[in-house]
Symmetry: C2
Subunit: 209 residues, 2 copies
């Protein structure tokens, strides 16, 4: 069975760069935007629209009133379900093709049958804000408060979508095999260490199984 590494990450933690470099280090395929591009081709839909829809899984939240308490209910509307179903099919096709690293898209749950190595990438808030500022387009001036609001919104979307389809909680450290903190660290420098850990973990899994 092919070896799959799934990368879940907080917005601004550099998880995408880490995933790409890890794939290069291990000689694995890497899938992230490629998935959106392929879906855009299949559906004829706009790539940016799709990206936004899939990032959050199209999840909508609404308040409900039950037994004297208010709470939030999250659900995926019909249109989004079809998109997610296409994405799931595509993820399975990619996993069947060969060893790969997949960033986001709740791949840790969708590809559960492959027993993927589940990696989580996080960082302290200040470090994430700095990283967002560094990668902002030229002329794009956002305040710390605006970046923070965007960060929270995107992480909340990721968590909501993930937790609808998974029995594990997004971001709960016990739900991942390894959580890496990228605060004040050059990602390039630590990737070979993650690869070394992964190789030993995989070998131990094979010996146990």
């Amino acid at each position: 069975m092919n070896s799959i590494i799934t990368v879940s990450r907080e917005f601004g933690s550099g998880g995408r760069e880490l995933g790409k470099r890890l794939a290069d280090e291990l000689g694995f395929a890497y899938y992230d935007r490629e998935i959106v591009t392929a879906l855009a081709e299949q559906t004829g839909m706009d790539e940016h629209y799709l990206e936004r829809q899939l990032e959050s899984g199209g999840v909508v939240s609404y308040p409900v009133h039950f037994a004297q308490t208010f709470s939030q209910i999250s659900a995926v509307p019909d249109g989004a379900v079809q998109l997610l179903s296409l994405q799931t099919k595509l993820l399975r096709e990619l996993a069947a093709k060969g060893d790969c690293v997949i960033v986001g898209r709740a791949a840790d749950t969708v590809l559960e049958e492959y027993a993927p190595f589940r990696l989580f990438v996080c960082a302290e808030q200040e470090a994430k804000i700095r990283r967002c500022r560094q990668r902002a387009s030229e002329g794009e001036e956002l305040s710390d408060r605006e970046i923070l609001r965007q960060m929270k919104r995107i992480d909340r979307s990721r968590a909501e979508y993930h937790d609808i389809i998974s029995s594990r909680l997004w971001g709960d450290k016990s739900a991942y095999h390894l959580c890496v903190n990228t605060t004040d660290i050059e990602i390039k420098a630590i990737v070979p260490g993650i690869a070394a850990y992964y190789r030993l973990w995989r070998k131990a899994q094979e010996n146990a199984g």
Copy 2:
């Protein structure tokens, strides 16, 4: 400055074994019970009593009533403060002696000036219960519920003591450089991977500083 690795861990996650093996792998000194033994010698107090006092930092929690709400306040009573102060002095002496791995004792905060590598060891609940059962003394028959209660009590004590003296939250993944999940894995098999990650992290820190 000497290199320090601090290991924080959930009860039953195998953090102590992991810390010992990591120290052996890196050729570092290892401190855990040695600290209690040294304090027992200094104070003439019983080692088991000291162990229990220091595990929780002697923290006591009591309810307070303020502005129509009840909440819990945690504090360290005077007698325990003296013990903790002796422990802090000892931790600093050990850190000054040479490179080392220290398990627990809020060493991540006490030795902040050394910029230690902060490692957290966790596992899924079922795996921790299994590990506790394996290491129980012969004839010691505990139900899952009893183990779970003990586990929660000890982890709560660790968190309370840690969070009184630290600005970081015990168990919050962003407060550690690396969180390792030992669920269904042989600790011996993955330790060289953690050592590899640590060496690269340390090198990156030195290059940055």
